[in-house]
Amino acid sequence: MLRYAARRLLTALPVLLIVSLLSFGIVWIVPGDVAAEMAGPTATAEELARLRERLGLTRPWHEQLVGWYGALLQGDLGESILLRQGVGSAIVERLPVTLSLTFVALAIAFVAGTGLGTLAAVRVGKAADRAAMGTALIGFSLPDFWLGLVLVYFFAVVLGWLPTGGYVPFAQDPLGWARSMLLPAATLALSQMGLFARMTRAAMLEVLRQDYVRTARAKGMPGWVVVGKHALRNALVPVVTVAGIACGVLLGGAVVIESVFSLPGVGRLIVGAIQRRDYPVIQGGLLLTATIFVLVNLAVDLLYALLDPRIRHGRR
C-alpha cells in the first residue's frame, strides 16, 4: 500500500511541474504590453514603469521563471496588484468558502447520483429507469449559472425561504451556513449528479450480472442487502475514480456559482482578478486549483485502493 502510494505520488510530480509552468506562462500569451493593459489607458509613463518593476517584467524571461519557482518553493505566490495583499493569503482567506461549496456539492452529487443510477439499474427498462436517466441528462444539460438565478428567483425572491446570496461561516452559525450553502451547492451539484448517475447505472448493470450477486441471493440476503452491499460496493469502484475528476469540474463551476450567489470565495477572487487583469492573482489561482485537483485525484486513487482489495495487494 505504501509503495503504491509512493509510485502514484511520483507520477503526479511531472504533472505538477507542467501545471506550474503553464500557470506562469499565462502572462506570456497576453498580446502587447501586460503592464499597459493592467494599468489602464489613464496611467502615466511613470506609473507604468513602477508597475513593470513590481511585476518583474523588466527582467529577462528566464530570470522571471527562476524567480517564480524560487518564490513558489518558499510558498510565495506573489503580490496582488489591486488588493495590495499577498496572493497566498488572499486565497487562503477565501478558501473555506470554496471548499465548503465544492465538497457539499460533491456530497450531494455523489449521493443523489449513485442513488439515481442504482435505482435505474435495478429497474432497468422500466419507467423509473427512464425517469432517472432523463433527470440525469437534463442535469448536465442545464447551464448551472442560469439555473442558479432561476432558483434564487423562486426560493429567495418569490418564496423568501432562503437568502439570495452571501456566506455565513460554519463556526459562526451552522444553520445559517447550511442555508447559505443549500442553493449554490445544489445548483453546482446538478451536472455532476447526472454523470454519477450514468456511471453508476452502467457499472451496476455490469455488477448485477456477476456470479457473486447470485451467491448473495443464494445466501437468502434480502434485496436491499444484495444491491446495497454486495453490488453497490463493487459498482462504486469505477464511480469513485471519477469523483476526483468531478471535483475539478466542481472547482471550475464554483467560479461562476460564487459569482451568482455572491459568495466571497476563491472563484470570485479569480473572476474579479480576471476582469481587472490582476495577473499575479490569476496565476496563483490557476496554480492552486490545479494543484488541489492533482492532490484530490491522488487521494482518490488511494481511496480506490481501499475500496478494491485487489489493487491494495498489487494484483492488477
Binding site: D211, A218, K219, P222, N234, H313
Partner: protein
C-alpha cells in the same frame, strides 16, 4: 422421508422451454447426482429449486415440494428465509462466486447474522470454526483475507463454508469441482462426502462428469435437452445403463489405466432449446435411432431388472 420432490417441472424463457416435465425425489440425507452435458437443463432445474432463475425465466408447470411446501408458489420473502438456511447452493466458479471486495469471514458471518441472529463477534467466531470445518489451514488468518488471496481449492472450501453456515437440510452443488485441478477435485469431493455424513444433509450434485458422480452419489438422474432420460440407483445405472445417451456418457469417461487413445466422445452437440426435435431429443445423435424414435417423445418407464429410462428400444438394446 422425502425432503424434496420435483414433479413435472417445466422452466421456460418466454416461449422457449429449457426444462420439461422433470420429476425426481430426494430423501433426507441422500446424495443424488444430476448428470448431463451443458445445455441439458440441469443447472436451470437447480436454480428453479432455489428460486434464482435468471431474468426472464419462469417455472411454467409442475411443483417443487421442499419440506412439505410447494416452493414454486412461495413469495420471495419466504424463499429468502429458506435460501442459505434450509437449502444452500455452491457454484462452479468459486472465484466469480465470491464477492471480491468483502473478506471471506464477512461473507460467512453475514449469513449467520442474517439467518441465525448471531451478533457480530459470535458470527466472526463461528466463521473461523466453519473455515476449520472445511479444513482450511490457519483459519484465524484466512478469515480476514479476500477471495483473491486464496487458492482455487480454498475458495471452493470457503464457498462450502458459506453454504453450510446454517446447517441446511439440502445442499445443491452445481459443478463444484469442474473449475479445479484434478488433485484439488478429489479433496473437495472427500470433504463433501465427510460433511454430508456429519450433518446428515441431502446433497444434489450436478455434474457433466459421471466419474465424479459415481464416486459419491447413491442415485443418479441423467438429463438430456431439458428432459430426464434415465434415472436409477448408482449401482444399477453404472452397472447396467439402459439409455444410449447414458451409455455414451459412460464410454466418454477417460480411464487412467491402459493406453491413452482418442477420447470416445459423442458426435454432435446438444440442440438449442429453440430447436429441440419433436420426438426423442437424443435421436439425431443416437446410433440406434429408428424412424419411430422421431415420431413421439418416449415416456420414462421402468425397465425390468434395470433403471427407469425414456427409450422405446430399451429392452432390445440391453
Amino acid at each position: 422421508m422425502t425432503l424434496l420432490s420435483v414433479r413435472d417441472l417445466s422452466v421456460a424463457f418466454g416461449p422457449v422451454r429449457v426444462v420439461q416435465d422433470v420429476s425426481f425425489d430426494l430423501a433426507e440425507g441422500e446424495v443424488l447426482g444430476v448428470v448431463g452435458e451443458s445445455g441439458s437443463g440441469k443447472s436451470m432445474t437447480a436454480l428453479a429449486m432455489m428460486g434464482l432463475l435468471p431474468a426472464g425465466g419462469h417455472v411454467t408447470a409442475g411443483r417443487i415440494t421442499f419440506e412439505g411446501r410447494d416452493i414454486t408458489r412461495l413469495p420471495e420473502r419466504e424463499m429468502q428465509r429458506l435460501r442459505g438456511a434450509r437449502m444452500a447452493m455452491i457454484f462452479q466458479e468459486p472465484m466469480a462466486s465470491l464477492n471480491p471486495v468483502l473478506t471471506v469471514g464477512e461473507q460467512i458471518a453475514e449469513v449467520l447474522r442474517h439467518h441465525s441472529g448471531l451478533d457480530r463477534r459470535a458470527a466472526q467466531r463461528e466463521a473461523i470454526g466453519l473455515l476449520k470445518l472445511v479444513e482450511i489451514a490457519s483459519a484465524e488468518r484466512r478469515v480476514n483475507e479476500y477471495p483473491h488471496q486464496l487458492s482455487g481449492g480454498m475458495r471452493q472450501r470457503a464457498m462450502i463454508a458459506i453454504a453450510l453456515a446454517c446447517r441446511p437440510r439440502l445442499l445443491i452443488a452445481d459443478e463444484p469441482t469442474t473449475a479445479l485441478d484434478a488433485t484439488v477435485q478429489a479433496g473437495i469431493l472427500d470433504l463433501l462426502r465427510g460433511l454430508r455424513q456429519e450433518f446428515g444433509m441431502a446433497v444434489l450434485l450436478i455434474s457433466h462428469d459421471l466419474g465424479v458422480v459415481s464416486e459419491i452419489c447413491e442415485r443418479v438422474v441423467v438429463m438430456y435437452a431439458g428432459r430426464v432420460v434415465e434415472t436409477g440407483t448408482a449401482e444399477r445405472l453404472f452397472g447396467r445403463p439402459v439409455h444410449p445417451y447414458t451409455r455414451a456418457l459412460l464410454a466418454a469417461i477417460p480411464r487412467l489405466e491402459g493406453p491413452i487413445g482418442p477420447l470416445p466422445a459423442i458426435a454432435g452437440v446438444v440442440p438449442t432449446p429453440a430447436a429441440f426435435p419433436p420426438g426423442c431429443r437424443f435421436a439425431p445423435r443416437c446410433p440406434y435411432a429408428v424412424p419411430a424414435c422421431e415420431a413421439a417423445q418416449p415416456p420414462l418407464r421402468t425397465i425390468p431388472g434395470g433403471t427407469d429410462a425414456a427409450c422405446i428400444r430399451a429392452e432390445e438394446l440391453t
